[in-house]
């Protein structure tokens, strides 16, 4: 599967690291589409696994913990989005939501493969054989799909958050984190576009769609603050240049989501009342999860756990 000459992303500068995705420049870049990445250039989890086996990629304990958070967010979201395939409002959305799920799953596989290197575990060990309190996903990612508006509201928040995060992680001193982020950034840019367009359509469509998207935002807004919470780990990583303090993303997140909401004619205060929505205490990063995660994991892990040690 993996040819030697395409895998040395950390040393030779993998295709995706070096292309023009720095700063806000990725927006509107025709080559940024998730579907147009040159096959030979795409960073795959298998490439990272190879680096790990060779010993050329090995995360510190802090970086591994950090990669676990990013990977779990993406994994749980992929699991949620995957449920839409064959159930979407139209065929084009079966494909689009499926695509976003696939992108997120790809990011999850890369982050988890890298994180696992620290504990000598594979992506599948981490995905299928950890217990609920060992997961590090934030509560937003765990929230049920609800109707299409809830899914879009969640995706809108997530993609604007992830975009700001990955954009900054391009400069991570950890080459693997930077490389994964570079690939993810292009794809998440497309997710932003998809969700923003749907926010506009739903808010400006019919009375019913407007009512539903407003409800979606109100349902999910309690879980926004958790995304931007700093803690000791992020402080140490920011200090070392490997990660970022989540709080530093908030201003750009607020500004950019605010622009879309304004264009959609959704006033954050008057229509959505976002300023009055109490923010949940969260705790996902410490293994304290919503009631939803247990069911999600039970379904995701059931077959793998029935056959421990089997390969598939």
């Amino acid at each position: 599967m993996t040819s030697e000459h395409t895998t040395d992303f950390a040393i030779e500068g993998h295709g995706d690291i070096s292309v023009g995705v720095s700063g806000a420049g990725a927006s509107g870049d025709g080559s940024a589409s998730a579907t147009r990445i040159t096959p030979g250039n795409a960073l795959r989890p298998e490439d990272i696994a190879l680096e790990v086996r060779r010993g050329t990629a090995k995360p510190s304990g802090d970086v591994a913990e950090y990669a676990l958070r990013l990977g779990d967010d993406a994994l749980i979201l992929a699991q949620r989005l995957g449920h839409w395939i064959s159930r979407a409002p139209e065929l084009e959305e079966d494909i689009a939501l499926g695509n976003i799920a696939l992108d997120q799953l790809g990011h999850a596989r890369s982050f988890l493969t890298y994180a696992g290197a620290h504990w000598d575990k594979s992506e599948d060990d981490l995905a299928y054989f950890r217990r609920e309190p060992e997961f590090r996903s934030a509560h937003l990612f765990e929230q049920p799909n609800g109707d299409f508006a809830v899914t879009i509201a969640r995706q809108f928040i997530v993609s604007y958050y992830q975009f700001e995060l990955y954009k900054r992680l391009l400069d991570s001193t950890d080459a693997t984190i930077a490389a994964i982020s570079a690939k993810a950034l292009k794809e998440v840019d497309y997710h932003r576009d998809h969700s923003a367009q749907w926010v506009l359509r739903l808010a400006g469509g019919t009375e019913e769609s407007r009512r539903r998207i407003i409800r979606g935002f109100k349902l999910l807004w309690p879980y926004v603050e958790e995304l931007f919470e700093d803690d000791e780990l992020t402080a140490r990583l920011a200090e070392a240049g490997a990660g970022v303090q989540p709080s530093t993303l908030r201003e750009d997140f607020d500004r950019l989501t605010g622009e879309v909401l304004a264009e959609a004619g959704l006033d954050a205060v008057n229509d959505l009342g976002l300023d009055r929505i109490p923010q949940s205490l969260g705790g996902g990063r410490r293994g304290k999860h919503s009631e939803h995660l247990g069911y999600l994991l039970a379904e995701m892990q059931v077959l793998a756990r029935e056959h421990p040690g089997a390969s598939w």
Binding site: I85, L91, D94, G204, H307, W312
Partner: protein
């Protein structure tokens, strides 16, 4: 929404109204052109004259094919959330997504024959249109993802490769693209089974059980035996269908009988043999009563598949309405500006 993009397709005459001499002449010239194209084994395109029965036959076949892709997403989607490794999950998601894409190409090809996607979708939901009966069987184990890919997609490829040369251009061209993806699907199904077969005894048993369950239904995907397939002859005369049901079925059996050895599994059919006289592969008897029952709605999942499609369609109605309303408002704004 799709209907707005319809190409204008020349209307076809109904047999009931008397034709003027000019119309008669046009009909005669149209038929002559059509006959020549078919005789040359060339392609009919959407704006060409075509016999009404040819249009109807194609519309039925292409829309059924599209519906099969859409309903066929369900048994596999059933395992996306439980796929036993992240790599398998990604592959399965991509595969089911491909099927939605196939449905889209095929609905588009069918639209060139003069029917909107909305109408075709409605016919499916109203139970007026058929889809491949195979999808009315349940996918109960992970190994079914392998068996569906290997046997069901394998049978579909046998059926579909000749359709790349179908006389109707849009259909043939859609099939080229679909066949490329289907052959990838079949290989991934084979790979799933191979991995299971070389795995633990429980995994190997899971694989064998799945092959046992999907083998006969896959063989029946080629349709009834030739002496019980009334429409085949006309379809072959029109260069839509190239080989008979039994011919294709025999070829398929010949391929599977070799591949199953590589898998280290067996086919649940002790009667498979190569007939030296006819130079064809033969298989044991198939239960055509079961085939007819499933076709008549008595399969294990007929009601479930239809309900799921209906539910997705109805739950999505407000979204489609919102998108249409928004698009209309935007168009109005642009017009005013």
């Amino acid at each position: 929404m799709a209907s707005q993009k319809l190409q204008s397709v020349p209307g076809s005459p109904s047999g009931e109204t008397a034709l003027s001499p000019e119309e008669q002449e046009r009909e005669r010239a149209g038929q002559a052109y059509f006959d020549r194209i078919i005789a040359e084994d060339s392609r009919i395109e959407p704006r060409d004259w075509m016999p009404e029965a040819y249009r109807r036959t194609l519309l039925r076949q292409v829309s059924q094919h599209a519906h099969s892709e859409i309903i066929g997403m369900q048994p596999e989607a059933n395992w996306i959330t439980r796929a036993p490794s992240l790599k398998r999950k990604a592959i399965l998601m991509a595969k089911v997504q491909d099927e939605a894409g196939h449905g889209l190409y095929l609905y588009s090809a069918a639209e060139t024959l003069g029917q909107s996607r909305d109408k075709m979708m409605q016919d499916l939901i109203d139970g007026k249109a058929r889809y491949s009966s195979i999808f009315n069987y349940p996918a109960v184990s992970w190994a079914d993802m392998g068996a569906i890919g290997w046997l069901v997609d394998g049978a579909a490829i046998c059926n579909q490769v000749p359709l790349c040369r179908a006389s109707y251009g849009p259909y043939g061209r859609a099939m080229v693209r679909i066949c490329k993806e289907e052959s990838f699907h079949q290989r991934q199904g084979f790979e799933i089974l191979l991995e299971l077969s070389n795995g633990t005894p429980a995994q190997k048993q899971m694989a064998q059980d799945a092959v046992n369950r999907w083998y006969a239904p896959a063989l029946m995907m080629f349709g009834p035996p030739d002496d019980d397939s009334p429409n085949s002859k006309q379809s072959m005369a029109w260069n839509i269908k190239r080989f008979s049901n039994d011919e294709l079925r025999s070829r398929f059996v010949g391929m599977m009988v070799e591949q199953v050895k590589v898998l280290g599994l067996t086919l649940p059919d002790p009667d498979i043999r190569f007939n030296e006289e006819t130079k064809k592969w033969e298989h044991g008897p198939l239960d055509w009563n079961e085939f007819k029952d499933v076709l008549a709605g008595k399969g294990p999942c007929n009601a479930q598949r239809m309900e799921r499609r209906r539910q997705a369609h109805e739950d999505g109605a407000w979204v489609r309405e919102a998108a249409a309303a928004y698009a209309a408002k935007q168009a109005q704004k642009e017009h005013a500006a």
